[in-house]
Amino acid sequence: MLAEDSVLLREGLVGLLARFGHEVVAAVGDAAALTESVSAHAPDLVVTDVRMPPGFQDEGLRAALALRTADPRLPVLVLSQYVQRAYAAELLDTGDGTGVGYLLKDRVGQVEQFAEAVERVAAGGTVVDPEVVRQLLRRRRDPLEALTPREREVLGLVAEGKSNGAIARQLVVTEAAVGKHIGNILGKLDLPPAEDTHRRVLAVLAYLRG
């Protein structure tokens, strides 16, 4: 289920998702149509732009929030023109933050990462744009200074919603090493230790937003 007002991008995104084996059941161009067709099609995932007609403000985001409030189990991936922490925060506050994604629109060019994010959100994971995480990391200085640069790197990746395996692959270390880093980080930041990737992400995000 796809909502995007620019025809050019809508067509492009349909092609991109099809390329990775997803079926787009409906592609619409404004927030009202999005709400309608969600109730008609009951999709596995909604991908929507923030800015949509008629007002070109944040109709898409509002519609996504309303959908999530009505059905917290509906996975939603929001594409935003530029990074806005307030958007990310509002989204993560719905349906205990599972099955939510907030990405910069430009990321759709990174087709593999985008496809991965789509799958992760549809499976009930949390995906937050690295840019948002960077801003959050910049904002919270004090306790973060206790972290080593490597630990900070790992924390950023955790906040983006990546699993231990994915982080290990990205940093080219063993999964056990990642686990140890994460244990240290949670200890230093006074966060409850959590095995499950998802709860860990939420704890880290809550910490960064606080």
């Binding site: 620019s6 050019l8 991008l9 492009g12 995104l13 092609g15 991109l16 390329r19 800015r51 070109f56 403000q57 944040d58 023109q81 530029y82 806005q84 922490r85 307030a86 910069l104 629109k105 430009d106 759709v108 060019g109 990174q110 087709v111 593999e112 801003q135 910049r138 904002r139 200085r141």
Partner: protein, 401 residues
């Protein structure tokens, strides 16, 4: 004055008396006490206050002119460039309008209100007494004198007197209205803005229109960039990304370079659009937009704001002012930290940007500060810079809204 409504001129003159009497008392008290205390210096501020009495009187009198049914009169005063009582008083003492208002206040206290009372008594008193004859007769029982002149001892005479009183009243309302009109014209002459003051108001208005047009243009450019170039670039990036997936290795590498370029351009365009008109300002208002600006600031800035939603012109002026202030902190001050606080109260929006830099910022030296002050001035807002050499620098902006 409207001729068909006899109540208005009467109301105008009655309220004139009601304003004039306390004003006379106030002027006399201030003058006498001020003069008596001048040797011990306490009197001087009292005399200064006396000189400024015209200002509030002007406000009241312009309001009364509206009550009297004339065209509304705008105030002749300029808004001071800086906040604070001292700046206000300095400006008022140098304005011609202040002295015209004082002249009017003195005239009102010593000449005009007694005249108003005389006209009222003449035009309403005698006919009123004649009208009241039947009642007077009923109360006194035997006979009564109307206005100490005519003896009346029968109800026929009394009703005749009442009819005469009514006719006299209708006749006398004419001169009363004429006098009230002349009286209002005199007030207007002294209290309405003169030509240059009028022109200044016009200039301020047209400046505000210019700023509004500029804002609208800003939003249009932002919309066009977003709906056009940005969407196309994202689509291009997507196409390149897909092409890379399916391309043979040697081509994939060249495509990767093009792809990286595209993403670079996209990033720059995104920042540019955000600089022109940040969406967060429209969506979430000033508080969040300031927090957003602080996060992008080169110097770490702490934000402590408690703000609601205001008119678009106010929000955008305040936002760009804060951003300019942060840019200045980053460029000139050598500061390590900055603090932004914002509050709304008494119909004014107050925002303060502090830094721990070396100070010495001078709004007179054609920095971005001048542009800031101009931007705020259009909204009757003010900008004060307190930046002693050695710091800290504090920028304060106030916008009435």
């Amino acid at each position: 004055m409207i001729r068909r409504n006899p109540v208005r001129p009467v109301g105008y003159l009655v309220s004139g008396v009601l304003v004039g009497v306390p004003l006379l008392v106030g002027l006399l008290v201030l003058g006498v006490v001020g003069a008596a205390l001048t040797p011990v210096l306490v009197g001087l501020p009292l005399l200064a206050l006396l000189a400024l009495t015209g200002v509030p009187v002007g406000v009241v009198e312009r309001w009364r002119l509206r009550l009297g049914g004339g065209a509304p009169v705008t105030g002749p005063h300029r808004a001071p460039d800086e906040p604070g009582l001292a700046a206000w008083a300095r400006l008022r003492f140098t304005e011609q309008a202040t002295w015209r208002e004082l002249a009017y206040a003195v005239l009102l206290a010593f000449v005009l209100w007694p005249l108003d009372l005389l006209v009222l008594a003449g035009a309403l008193g005698v006919p009123g007494a004649m009208l009241g004859a039947p009642v007077q007769l009923a109360v006194s029982g035997g006979d009564t004198r109307i206005a100490k002149l005519w003896l009346i001892d029968a109800y026929g005479q009394a009703f005749l007197s009442a009819a005469g009183g009514l006719a006299l009243l209708l006749v006398l309302l004419w001169p009363l209205a004429l006098y009230a009109r002349a009286r209002a014209a005199l007030a207007r002459l002294l209290l309405a803005p003169r030509e240059p003051e009028q022109r200044l108001a016009e200039v301020t208005k047209s400046r505000a229109r210019l700023v509004a047009a500029f804002e609208a243009e800003r939003r249009r450019i932002e919309r066009d960039l977003h709906d056009g170039a940005q969407q196309r670039l994202v689509a291009l990036s997507m196409t390149l990304g897909l092409a890379r997936l399916d391309a043979p290795p040697e081509l994939a590498e060249r495509l990767a370079v093009a792809h990286a370029e595209t993403d670079q351009v996209l990033g720059e365009l995104r920042e540019l659009i955000h600089g022109i008109h940040p969406q967060v300002l429209a969506d979430y208002g000033l508080g969040d937009a300031i927090a957003d600006a602080a996060e992008r600031s080169a110097v770490p800035a702490e934000v402590d704001v408690d703000l609601g939603r205001y008119a678009e012109s106010v929000e955008s002026a305040a936002y760009f002012a804060v951003r300019e202030a942060l840019a200045n902190v980053g460029k000139h001050s050598g500061a390590k930290r900055a603090w932004i606080s914002g509050r709304y109260g008494e119909d004014r929006l107050r925002i303060e940007v502090r830094d721990d830099g070396s100070g010495g910022a001078d709004p007179g030296r054609g920095s971005g500060l001048t542009g800031l002050a101009d931007r705020l001035a259009v909204l009757d807002g003010t900008l004060t810079v307190d930046s002693p050499p050695g710091g800290p620098t504090v920028l304060r902006m106030e916008i009435p809204c």
